[in-house]
C-alpha cells in the first residue's frame, strides 16, 4: 500500500494531534513533509522545572523533540505510518527563555527496513542559538504482508 505524500501528511497530522500527551503539553503541528516535521509548544507554568528562574523542564523539551522525531519518521516516503522511539539523546545548549514558544524541527535523514534515524533541534524566539539538539533512532513498523 502506497499513499501519496499529501495524503500521508494529512494522516500524520491527524494522528499527532490526537496524542493525549502532546495535547496536554499544547503541541501544534506547524509543518510536515517528506521526512521532516515542525512542532511547537507554548511556555506554560505547568512545565516549569526550575521555580527560581521559570525555565521549563528539560523533560518537556524532550517530549517535544520525541513527538517531532516520530512525526518526521511517519512522514518519510519510505516508511509506513507507525513508529516508536528506540532511543533519543538530547543535548541542552541553553535554558529556553521563560514565556517564549519553543519550536522543534526534526529530519528523518535515513530509513532502513526497520529503523528510522532522526536529527532534531529546538529554538525559542532567538533563532540563531539552539536551545537543544537531539539524535534518535525510531522503529519502522511495517505491516506483516510487506515483509520481503
Amino acid at each position: 500500500m502506497t499513499l501519496k505524500a499529501g495524503e500521508k501528511a494529512r494522516i500524520a497530522k491527524q494522528f499527532i494531534e490526537a496524542i493525549p500527551f502532546s495535547k496536554a503539553l499544547g503541541m501544534n503541528l506547524d509543518d510536515i513533509g517528506d521526512g521532516f516535521a515542525v512542532i511547537s509548544m507554548p511556555w506554560s507554568e505547568d512545565l516549569v522545572g526550575d521555580p527560581q528562574s521559570g525555565v521549563i523542564h528539560g523533560g518537556a523539551v524532550s517530549a517535544l523533540m520525541d513527538t517531532c522525531g516520530g512525526a518526521a519518521v511517519m512522514s518519510h516516503p519510505d516508511a509506513p505510518a507507525g513508529t516508536a522511539t528506540i532511543d533519543l539523546r538530547i543535548d541542552y545548549m541553553r535554558p529556553a527563555t521563560p514565556g517564549q514558544r519553543i519550536i522543534a524541527r526534526a529530519e528523518c535523514y535515513n530509513v532502513t527496513r526497520s529503523v528510522g534515524f532522526v536529527r532534531a533541534s529546538a529554538f525559542d524566539e532567538d533563532e540563531d542559538r539552539p536551545v537543544a539538539t537531539a539524535a534518535g533512532a525510531f522503529t519502522v513498523e511495517r505491516p506483516k504482508e510487506a515483509k520481503a
Partner: protein, 175 residues
Amino acid sequence: MNRPRPEPVQVVKERRDRALELLVKGVPYARFMGIEFDRRGDELTAIMHYDEKLIGNPFLPALHGGAIASFLEMTAIIGLSWQTLWDDIETGRTAAEDLSPETMPRLPKTIDFTVDYLRAGLPRDAYARARVNRSGRRYASVHVEAWQDNRDKLFAQATGHFLMPSRNGNGARVG
C-alpha cells in the same frame, strides 16, 4: 557515657521528609506529571501515577516516549539534588528548619540525557530509581532505571550528565 542521646525517630523523619517535600513541591512540572517520591532512609523511589494524559499511542495504549523521558530526567535531577541536600542536612551544614522555597539550593542543570526505550510503557503506575555514578564539584553522571509491574523487567533506562549548582551562594557559575 558521653555519646549524645539519639534524637527521637519522629524528629529525624520529619526533618528529612520536610526537606524532600520542599525539593519536590518546588517543581511545577513534577505536579503536572503526577510524579512523587517515596523515601526509605536516603534512598528515593520516584512514582509516576498513571493518567490518561500521559498516553502517546492511544491504540495500544502506551505511555508517550516524552512522558517517559520526563519521568526519568525528573528522577535524575531530584535524585542528584537530594544526595547533596541529604549530606548538608545530616552533617548540619544546612539547618533543615531554615529551608524555605526561597532558600532552597539551585537544581543541577542537564547537559545531556539519553533515554533507552526497552519496552512499551503500560497504562499504569511507573517507578524509577536514580544512581549517581559520579558527582564532582562541577559535573555529575547519573543513571536511571524505570519499571512497572516487575522490578527486573525495566521498560526504560537513561544516562545523563549534569552541571552542578555552585556551592558558594547564589547559583552563579564558578569560572
